[in-house]
Point group: C2
Chain length 361, copies 2
């Protein structure tokens, strides 16, 4: 017994294959009566509808878009902020019926998802633009949107105002009177450890923008910052060990700026384990405004970004790019930048009085 295809049904009903195809995909092309007959026979034969693969080839539409996630999927999937971003994407995609395929940036054996999986377009989220996965997507000339990455010519991009947010966070500490500030950050590549010139150590766009923002405010106030940079991994552990490094390294800072809320949680945990109080001994600022940051104790001062909106914007930009690729030559590409906002909660306050040397401004 062969497989049931459009032709099988066509033969049974006594119509052309095309009519059966229309019965499924373009109901307005045939009489309701005939359509019902076709559908009935299909039902009877256990036909599940046009084969998606064949349909994809013939129509040039896969019905799914890819999301390229940084490095291993495992990390990304346990990152609440990244997942909230995905949720924003799927929300926006839902009405269009488009599905989402998770693409690992790391090649897996000799199969490269970015090269070998059928998709109509891709959202590239916080990836190394030089990675082979990204270049495969480009070679395929797939419609793309870059998110949390350096905007590239000809490719739509969505970013948040990392720099402004970071600046506001650092300025907040400066305004509170802090003069001994540390920074805890993370990345996939570059130098790690206690860094004197972190801007030299990193190429990742988001990290770089935040560093720039922090230094905008700190430099203006003449405040040098101790920077601890760690390889990307479990953020809680990163924060914990980074804080330990800071505590073991001479003078303890009175405030710590963190790359993310998740890292900030680890930092706070380490400080508390060392008997220090947050914020009375040390102030801590996060980034992202992870939903649980409001709930932890002390509630975290952080920089809010609207991750859901970012996801939606990415999805709609991609949908647009896909439509556009079909209809005609490219029109103007948009580079969107969403705002960020400092949210002051309970994890920051004035530096303790016993604070030692303070640099004059």
């Amino acid at each position: 017994m062969g497989r049931v295809t459009l032709q099988t049904i066509a033969d049974h009903v006594g119509v052309s294959r095309m009519t059966v195809s229309n019965a499924f995909s373009r109901p307005d092309q045939l009489s309701a009566n005939l359509r019902d007959r076709v559908l009935a026979v299909a039902e009877e034969l256990g036909y599940a509808g046009p084969d998606p693969t064949a349909r994809a080839l013939a129509s040039g539409t896969a019905g799914t878009v890819g999301v390229l996630l940084s490095e291993t999927l495992t990390y990304s999937l346990t990152d609440e902020v990244a997942m909230a971003f995905l949720a924003g994407i799927t929300d926006e995609l839902a009405p269009t019926g488009t599905s989402l395929t998770l693409l690992s940036a790391a090649p897996q054996g000799d199969l490269v998802p970015a090269r070998d999986v059928a998709i109509d377009g891709a959202i590239v989220y916080s990836c190394n633009p030089e990675s082979s996965a990204v270049s495969w997507l480009m070679r395929r000339r797939l419609p793309m949107v870059f998110v949390d990455q350096a905007p590239a010519p000809g490719i739509a991009s969505i970013n948040i105002d990392d720099r402004q947010g970071a600046r506001a966070a650092a300025q907040h500490l400066v305004d509170l009177g802090h003069r001994q500030v540390a920074i805890v950050t993370t990345g996939f590549a570059g130098e790690f450890g206690l860094l004197t010139d972190p801007l030299q150590a990193t190429t990742a766009y988001t990290e770089r923008q935040r560093l720039l923002g922090w230094f905008d405010a700190l430099d203006a106030a003449g405040i040098p910052a101790t920077v601890v940079r760690q390889r990307h991994a479990n953020p809680d552990e990163i924060g914990y060990t980074a804080a330990q490094t800071l505590l073991g390294h001479g003078e303890c800072p009175t405030a710590i700026l963190c790359f993310s809320d998740a890292i900030a949680r680890g930092v706070i945990r380490a400080l508390q384990d060392s008997g220090l109080d947050v914020p009375d001994d040390v102030s801590v600022v996060g980034f992202d405004d992870n939903p649980i940051s409001r709930r932890i104790s002390p509630a975290l001062t952080t920089v809010r970004q609207d991750v859901d909106a970012k996801g939606r914007a990415a999805a709609s930009a991609l949908t647009l790019a896909i439509d556009r690729a079909k209809t005609g030559p490219a029109r103007r590409i948009r580079h969107l930048m969403l705002p960020t906002e400092l949210v002051v909660r309970a994890s920051t306050t004035h530096p303790p009085r016993t604070s030692s040397s303070s640099t004059a401004v």
Copy 2:
């Protein structure tokens, strides 16, 4: 200018289309020399490799598998436990080069992902087995694995020992001397509110198994339980409002069993907001052993399941089912049940002395 295909390259190099195909997909079928020439020309022409869609049709392999997630993707994506499960899947899938496509169980317009997306198989995670999405997958005769669902004949399934875990949790409370116990649970359909016969109200497999387990221990001890059941939504809010319901409803329980850790967090928050101490006034038990449950205060007593192992098991069962579907007729289907384990932490203790009427056993 037409698109660059295998034929284009074949013409340029002066070989057959088949040879070019082999150069990409079966390197052992041609001399290294010729292969290099082919690849060089492909590079020159900006050819990105065989079109995934066409390859999928011809070879019968899409290179991606679907995960059907309960109801809306939005909820699932913000569920740490579900995401850790996905991470387990992707880890196991990585070496095979297979990607993961997120399938919404809810139909979207007239496009039904479960019917219209090209996949080699599917993992059905905690879905209503009667849902149209599941029945589409079945009609397509796709290799499938059921996870956290009632095992079905002919379909591999992975479950955890929900019942045993729940029983252990409830027994723990009984052993501590609690005689006034409440249960907070959730589901997509059925009855909601204060329930007298919750087993009647729910058909969802996991929820049912946990209820059975809780009652195994409570019934044996002759302890009636107050059950609050809420429609699936933000778990923190579910827990919060459920606890409020319990507090407003006559006698306050001395212990609360929760469907998940996330819900337990909401419950604890509500209790604390009401000036009650956890565990001195009320003990709270969760389920899942969400990673952050260890970190919150008080550290949560819960039932541990190995979500990562569940994901891996699901992925490898699916890979097996896919291979099997290709090679020959089905062999024995496996129904796997992973263990659960009670983890006692700081959120449970003896009931307060002032506890009123206690039922004799």
